[in-house]
């Protein structure tokens, strides 16, 4: 099967899940699901020899070829590493979930459908070679993550966390789409490989920096970087298998993947290096600082994930510097990218196992509150061992893999301080301080997590359940990950050759021909160099801080949780603000809306006249003024004025009649006999109708009042009048073409056989108008009949009478 179809295998399998769940009751649905990631893992593992040689596998599925949008699966070292993480940890998580979720109480069909959907989305993100397809899968991860966080949808906190993560990641995702589209505009292609090929032209484009920042928004929101990390702790309301899978090992690394994948395009820019390294380091510092504040096991792990993602991000940023230094192959910056990938693998192993342990503790004791836990070491010895491996690795202790990657991290950061490109000088030492303090706090929270859960005094009276060791099936996946943690420490170079070097070759393709050119070997012992003393310092100070934890932890209470309140405040403000805005301008009075309409009309029309310099008066082509016309006009104006000042409505109605008859007279004067006839008849009928309406006025409004003068209304009315006059004058003065009426005059007798041109136009030349005008009258007649005859509302409760 072509590798591009493998992406869709979990999605297709998801269709079967509900049937399996409904039909096969006595077997946990997870067992069927387990086969899929396992099979995919084996298939992907078979590609490792290909990528080790630096080759890649491309397969394509046409989607919208006319727009250059296709599903292209591009498997090189980087995407294969991620695919293996996704399917490998996916298998372990499914196995874990079989024991974690009860088959009788939980709606498993939902759970596994969402999970498989997520797996497809994630495989699509890491393998897509087309930016638009990548975006599609990217949003699918957001949606499936939303569904998984809100899995227990009857809980308020779950829905809150799901919504928060959705809003933040979709916000970033949409900005990222903007960045992708800009890239597409600049490079005339959505293919990542083709874009990498035209890096120099892209970098000189003025849109380049904008595209860069927009893409980083997507990566930072997804990978929970500062200040967008706030959704991750709230996403811990998801079932623990989900937290272990999505929020430690896979989805939150999508942002890292994106940064790594696009490094060959963007690394030429110093903005990229600054943002990625700076934000990454600050996130590392911030996350580690607040992890020890948390009281919930999963919250500690969430902040720790934030912090470790920041670490990897900063290493990727440092790795981008390799694009700027001469002789980069010998510099330490190629080392940074290597360290980033190495730590990414390590983090996936130890954080996955730690989440599973947190889930086991929750499952077997009934609480995740670290204040209630303690002394579980003798009750849950296996869980304790696995937790110890994970925590020590996270803290950076030997003999676990975290130690190796932390050493490499320190080496890379030390190298940053010697670096003085892009006015880095001086700031480099600040970076070291940040990184070192963050490492100290990492040590503290790792120990805090481990010992406050498993050591100390057992408090059985505070636990909802009688604590006991977890079933074997739950411990197995955590144990496998723990085993990897130790294994990688002892055979780092096997892992390096098989997975890390091909991935690094994808991030820094210009440095190496094949992955085997990378001459980095990982060794646990470097001798007595700066890194060694820094590590010793971390252990000493970290140990001291952990020992005195209870004494200084109160300092956390002084720090306000400002970023979450900022988010809540923004949501509150936007909701109430929008409400207030609507209430302010949607008053419910027709008059208000008319004022808006008229004001806009005046502003738009007179504004255009002024700006376009369009106002002209033409005195040349005007016709002569006759005395009769003036008399009629005076009557017309007098009648109109009378309407405005009339005390009684009857006067107003009569005056309107007078206006109508003066208009008819004007028609007579201006040689329009048919118009005059119609106008006379219709005005008569209209006045009769007005009188009818007047006659039926309700008693309460019979006490007639003169209209009260309102300056605002008068000003608007005056503005409308002036606008109409100006438009009339200007358009009369600037006639572009002569009338087509000459044609009617010449052909009315010969072609249509009539003499009255107006009538012939109405029924012959432009008969369609007349047809529909007749229809209008018919509809009006039927409508009036209906209004008078139909009285449906009478039967209902009469709410309208006040």
């Amino acid at each position: 099967m072509s590798p591009v179809f493998l992406i869709f295998v979990p999605m297709l399998a998801a269709i079967l899940v509900p049937f399996l769940f409904k039909k096969i009751k006595n077997m946990h649905t997870g067992w069927f699901v387990l086969a899929i990631p396992l099979a995919l893992f084996i298939v992907y593992a078979s590609f490792v020899p290909v990528t080790m040689k630096g080759e890649f596998i491309v397969s394509e599925l046409q989607w919208i070829p006319s727009l250059g949008i296709n599903f292209i699966s591009y498997i090189d070292g980087l995407s294969l590493l991620f695919s293996l993480l996704i399917t490998g940890i996916g298998s372990l998580v499914v196995l874990y979930s079989i024991y974690y979720l009860d088959k009788n109480r939980e709606s498993l069909h939902n759970f596994y459908v969402f999970l498989l959907m997520f797996m497809t989305a994630m495989l699509g993100v890491v393998q897509s070679e087309n930016l638009i397809a990548l975006y599609l899968f990217w949003e699918l991860t957001s949606i499936s993550s939303f569904l998984l966080i809100g899995y227990w949808f009857t809980r308020d906190r779950s829905r809150f966390g799901a919504l928060k993560s959705m809003l933040i990641t979709v916000f970033g995702g949409l900005l990222m789409l903007g960045g992708f589209i800009l890239l597409g505009i600049m490079g005339h292609t959505f293919s990542i490989r083709e874009l990498i090929g035209q890096t120099p032209e892209l970098a000189s484009n003025p849109l380049f920096i904008l595209a860069l920042v927009l893409v980083l928004f997507g990566a930072f929101t997804k990978s929970a970087q500062f200040p967008f990390y706030i959704w991750l702790p709230d996403a811990m309301e998801a079932p623990t298998p989900v937290s272990a899978y999505l929020h430690s090992a896979t989805m939150v690394k999508a942002g890292l993947y994106l940064v790594a994948r696009l490094t060959p395009i963007f690394a030429v820019s110093s903005t990229w290096i600054w943002l990625v390294t700076g934000i990454g380091l600050f996130t590392l510092f911030w996350g580690s600082l607040f992890a020890a504040k948390q009281k919930d096991l999963k919250a500690i792990l969430a902040f720790s994930t934030v912090s470790q993602l920041g670490l990897i991000m900063s290493l990727l940023g440092a790795g981008s510097i390799a694009y700027h230094v001469d002789n980069a192959a010998n510099s330490v910056f190629k080392f940074a990218a290597f360290a980033a990938i190495f730590h990414l693998i390590n983090h996936a192993t130890f954080k996955g196992s730690l989440f599973m342990i947190a889930g086991i503790v929750d499952h077997e004791t009934g609480t995740r509150d670290i204040r209630k836990l303690g002394g579980l070491m003798s009750i849950m010895p296996v869980s304790f061992t696995i937790a110890l491996i994970g925590s020590f690795s996270m803290a950076g202790l030997p003999p676990f893999n975290g130690f190796l990657s932390k050493e490499m991290f320190l080496t890379a950061i030390l190298a940053l301080s010697d670096f003085n490109l892009f006015s880095f000088d001086g700031l480099g030492s600040l970076f070291i301080v940040f990184a070192w303090v963050a490492s100290v706090f990492t040590f503290v929270y790792s120990f805090y997590f481990l010992f406050h859960t498993f050591a100390g005094k057992h408090k059985p009276e505070e636990l909802p359940k009688q604590a006991h060791e977890a079933p074997f099936g739950m411990l197995l996946p955590a144990g496998i990950l723990g085993l990897f943690v130790i294994m990688i420490f002892f055979i780092p170079n096997v892992v390096g050759n098989a997975f890390i070097k091909p991935a690094v070759a994808a991030i820094q393709p210009f440095l190496y021909q094949t992955p085997s050119d990378i001459d980095i070997t990982i060794s646990a012992w470097h001798g007595f160099n700066t890194e060694f003393f820094m590590t010793v310092g971390i252990f000493l100070l970290g140990g001291l801080l952990f020992w005195t934890l209870e004494k200084w932890r109160k300092a956390y209470d002084l720090v306000p949780n400002s970023l979450n309140s900022l988010y809540d405040g923004m949501r509150y403000m936007s909701e109430t603000g929008a409400n207030r805005f609507s209430n302010w301008y949607m008053t419910g009075y027709i008059r208000t809306y008319l004022i808006y309409i008229f004001t806009f009309l005046i502003a738009a029309v007179t504004g255009t006249l002024l700006l376009k310099n369009a106002f002209v008066i033409d005195f040349e082509s005007v016709s002569s003024i006759s005395i009769y016309t003036i008399i009629v006009i005076v009557i017309l104006i007098a009648a109109t004025t009378a309407i405005l000042f009339a005390r009684s409505r009857l006067t107003a109605i009569i005056s309107l009649g007078a206006v109508g008859f003066s208009v008819a007279l004007l028609f007579v004067i201006f040689k329009a006999p048919d118009l005059a006839l119609t106008q006379l008849v219709i005005e008569t009928v209209s006045v009769a109708l007005f009188l009818l309406a007047f006659y039926h006025l309700p008693e309460i409004s019979r006490n007639e009042v003169r209209m009260r003068f309102r300056l605002r209304n008068a000003l608007i009315a005056f503005g409308v009048g002036v606008t109409v006059t100006l438009v009339a004058l200007a358009s009369f003065a600037q006639k572009a073409f002569p009338s087509i009426s000459e044609f009617y005059k010449e052909t009315v007798e010969t072609e249509a056989g009539g003499g009255n041109i107006v009538n012939v136009i109405l029924v012959d030349y432009r008969g369609f108008d007349t047809l529909f005008e007749i229809t209008v009258l018919a509809i009006a007649g039927i409508g009036i009949y209906g209004m008078i005859k139909l009285r449906l509302s009478r039967k209902e409760n009469k709410l309208e009478n006040k």
């Binding site: 008059r591 016709s623 206006v659 309102r710 209304n713 009339a728 007798e749």
Partner: protein
């Protein structure tokens, strides 16, 4: 003549707009009557008011100084349509008086309990 007419039409529009902004429903409808008159006169004026003979051929002479027939045909259509609409609105207002017992536009606003 056209320039004077432009001012007359502007005055009609002004009066109509002022009536639209009042409270009484009947006055609003009177405003629609005025604005239709204004619009009809505007069409006629824009066609030019210079014609000396009504657009009816006498003895088949096609070359006289006729008034422009096209605007007249357009106005005729517009008059009929505005009449239909005015009649409809008037009966609607009449029904509103019957049902709601008020012609005050401010009282025709729904509130939270009664929308």
């Amino acid at each position: 003549m056209e320039i004077i007419m432009a001012f007359v039409i502007g005055f009609l529009f002004m009066a109509a707009t002022y009536l639209f902004l009042t409270k009484s429903l009947l006055r609003v409808i009177i405003g629609t009557g005025l604005i239709s008159h204004g619009a009809h006169l505007l069409i006629l004026t824009m066609g030019g008011l210079g014609g000396k003979i009504p657009p009816v051929l006498t003895n088949g002479a096609a070359n006289g100084d006729y008034a422009d027939p096209l605007p007249q045909a357009l106005i005729l259509t517009a008059i009929v349509i505005s009449f239909g609409v005015t009649a409809f609105i008037l009966v609607l207002a009449y029904r509103a008086y019957q049902e709601l017992g008020t012609d005050n536009m401010d009282m025709l606003k729904g509130d939270d309990n009664n929308e």
